[in-house]
Symmetry: C2
Subunit: 227 residues, 2 copies
Amino acid sequence: MQFMTDHDKQTEERIFEAATEVFIEKGLDGSRIQDIADRAGMNKSLLHYYYRSKDRLFDAVFEMIAMKMLKKFAPVFEGDLTLEEKIRFFFREHLSFLQKNPRLPAFLLNEVNRHPERIRKFLANINIENLWKMLYDQHKDELDQYNITREKMPQIITTMASLTVFPFAAKMLLVELFGKAGIKFDDYIEERKTFAADFMISALKNMNRSNPEDESKIKKNDNKKKK
Amino acid sequence: MQFMTDHDKQTEERIFEAATEVFIEKGLDGSRIQDIADRAGMNKSLLHYYYRSKDRLFDAVFEMIAMKMLKKFAPVFEGDLTLEEKIRFFFREHLSFLQKNPRLPAFLLNEVNRHPERIRKFLANINIENLWKMLYDQHKDELDQYNITREKMPQIITTMASLTVFPFAAKMLLVELFGKAGIKFDDYIEERKTFAADFMISALKNMNRSNPEDESKIKKNDNKKKK
DNA sequence: ATTAAATTTGGCCATCTGTTTAAACCATAT
DNA sequence: ATATGGTTTAAACAGATGGCCAAATTTAAT
């Protein structure tokens, strides 16, 4: 046999791949075990032979996807890049990853909200505090320079995640809304790789330069009068 | 009868409210018509009497929620506030709204991704291009001052949505991760009302001051050498 | 009070869905 | 060839599920 066809893959692997596709597309509740069997081209019972139940099969798929997603974040906290380089690296790499896996954010967010118990065990290993503490310590000099305190790290980390994950979580919405304005989603994402990085860096550099609330109030009320 | 009990509400209204709760909690696929009837305290058949089917009931609920969500965005584009005031207004009001309806983002994003056909008709009325064009025209002076072109508006609008919607779409995740670091989700959101506004304003003011890519490369490579 | 209409109920049905069971199939070793 | 053990299939099961219907009950009009 010279070609590697679907049938050359082990049965268990084919089940897993078909299940991954279906679960991502329809979610746990919306997926039917028959759909998965059909897509894998085999009898329904085989899924029970290799994975005891729909739930166990889902858990296996979910764990794989969650790990895949998490591993992508790791490189940001390694290497001796400057903070700005890390930010650019993060947005470029993470958005590229999501371009290749555009349905992952919606899938993960939905399942996490729908079945929180199920995901607790995956989260047990992650200590996000260490994560931003590490990032803060590595770049204390730069952050001090910008007047960013350690207490702001949760806001900053979640902001970075927001900027990459949201467009994909809301992809269908954006495709629909952008369509009428002649904007292509792919172009938008491509542009976002640099926009998000520029945006992030610019915000960090200047947000605590002076009290933004006061500054804006004073400066802008003048402008307003002119209108 | 001196008290307004659940039974005083019209049947149709009670169905609608129970359905809203269940659909938001479990999604269309995860919801059972029996659950809704139980929560409304009535016979299953009544749901079919007032709404012909599960799908029609869902559509009614979905439309209400979508409208509720959309109406909250409108005030941002009215009034003669300055751009900065509008930004602060948006983050304060929108995050407050989401605090009261924390499950709406996850629900909406999930259903939009899961059943795109269903939502197309709701989106048909919305012209997002007009929306950001309006915002741009209203604040052309300020935006020019910051070197923000009209082409950047899609990125800016979606960024604002990201900053408010994502934390709620990922609420379960954040609650779990924050928990270990002793951070309360509610405090985080409260802080976010000003953080997101400051962050946004700071970014807009400075991101095109010079070419950020070049500036950062030069300035930061010096810092890096010191390490 | 009588009648007609609207509302509510319980029971039922056809279908779907995850799971189980038993038989068939197949490769390998003896 | 036969036996063995792992693999695959068809059939069936039990419980759930959305929808339907006919009877019962309530409400409103005359």
